[in-house]
Amino acid sequence: MRPLALIAIVSAVCAACAADPVAPEAVPARSSFDPGLIAKGAQLAAIGNCQVCHTAEGGRSFAGGRPIETPYGAFYAPNITPDPETGIGRWSEGAFARALREGVDREGRNLYPAFPYEYYTRLADEDVHALYAYIATREPVRAPNRPHELRAPFNSRSLIGPWKALYFERGAFQPDPARNAQWNRGAYLVNGLGHCGACHTPRNALGGEKKDERFGGGVAEGWHGPALDARSPAPLPWTAEQLYKYLRTGLDYVHAIAAGPMEPVVRNLARAPEEDVRAMAAYLEALAGPPSAERRKKADAALSQAKGASRANGRGAEIYAGTCAACHDRGREAGSGGALPLALGTAMTIPTSSNLLRITLEGIAPPEGEPGRSMPGFADALTDGQVKDLAAYIRSEFGRAAAWTDVDEELKKIREERR
């Protein structure tokens, strides 16, 4: 049955899927919370990346207003400071827990799944408790919520109930007794608070995750979130140690420099407890599993290509030689003055040109004052024709894959966003 028809039927059956309101109740005073609990909540909020979506560019922390671009339109994350009028200053811990686990706000309205309650539903009681302590003790900021700007029919909250019936699986995290404690901790964080799959799992046209393609590569704000399991497009298989280093610093010399929506994620994970990030890395390594013999062979080929000089003929190769090679083609690892050898990168091997084009045009720019790798953008230096030639060359030379068919469309989209 077509999903829209199904939604129509479910809508009819379940007219009132949202819940009762929770009575307004002022958040407790700071003095009522144990400082250790608040500190724990801060670390958990870092893993949850809460501040990133709930803070506008240049705005006050957690006061909301940041647009989150999706295929359905722009969501504006709400104010979650404890301001009683415009924030969640009248939310009891029960109301807060229900929002995280069930996707229902204090008033009883369904929340859009742009808020990843599909993942937060797995949160343990003590972690919800710590998160509440942290959020309830932030500085209240008076900032009215900006309404979402969504295309019809997604602008109607009445669709969320049926959506939940189809795609939302409520329930606490179930540990796997066959695995060790570190794996289970990693599984809990990756599939719960960390909500990694939100960007790394593909979704259907209604925004439901394709459960049978879990971690098979998804979409985030115009970027491709590469597959994290055995389908990983990384030329070299990731080890837990490399994943740990990347998640902590955004930099792994033989895989990637964090860019796009991943950049704030690693900035936050730098503030999370070391053992938690190690657990996430261990879980992700296990998720991908030991590399096959074929994968190893490809990795060896990529490594030797990264050490050698690149071919140089054709227009794209010429641009690469004059524009990229000074940093990317030095035959050494991505240390000071050298960048990631493209033969080892993932932007070249994924099914879409979006990440490579975004990095080429926009560069990699950590926010002012924050540490991180920086690459200049070439949006003004290269014409569209030159960007296309360069992308075609990089795809075939370093991605070692068939030409992308989406370059024109993606380039047009990115240029329009920049206007």
Partner: protein, 151 residues
């Protein structure tokens, strides 16, 4: 031979197509305003304008510039008759060693051509790719603000 439009004049030069624009300007055309800093597009000392937009000339091969309009520091004015942004930098004495300043001026020029009255935040954001190791930033910011103010 490669033909480049530099400061309104067509220049023919005999150079490898992969030659960085910076080398072409300095070694072939004796336009020494743009400076070599890092050679990696990380410091901004080599900034020039291409079609009115700021680009790092050290990582821009001349093969990409056919038919495009290049403006260098020399194209903005002369010592006798400095341009508006140059005058503002002089008035604010926005230089210590001065090595980064040609790039700073070109970056500011690009900003003001598109945004004649930028906010302080816009100036900071726009100029953030250009580094000054002497710490003259506050004067540089004042100079850009002055240039935006003055005719």
């Amino acid at each position: 031979m490669i033909s480049l439009d530099v400061n309104g004049k067509t220049q023919e030069l005999d150079a490898d197509p992969a030659t960085p624009l910076l080398y072409a300007l300095r070694d072939h055309l004796q336009l020494n305003g743009a400076k070599f800093g890092c050679g990696l597009g990380q410091c901004g000392a080599c900034t020039v304008l291409v079609d009115g937009r700021a680009v790092f000339s050290c990582v821009t091969p001349i093969s990409t510039l056919a038919g495009r309009r290049i403006t260098t520091l020399e194209g903005l004015g002369t010592p006798e008759k400095p341009g508006r942004v140059q005058r503002a930098f002089i008035a604010e004495q926005a230089a210590q060693c001065g090595y980064c300043i040609p790039g700073m001026i070109m970056q500011a020029q690009a900003l003001l051509e598109r945004t004649p009255h930028p906010t302080s935040a816009e100036i900071r954001k726009h100029m953030s790719g250009n580094l000054c190791r002497c710490g003259t930033h506050m004067r540089i910011l004042r100079a850009v603000e002055r240039a935006a103010r003055e005719p």
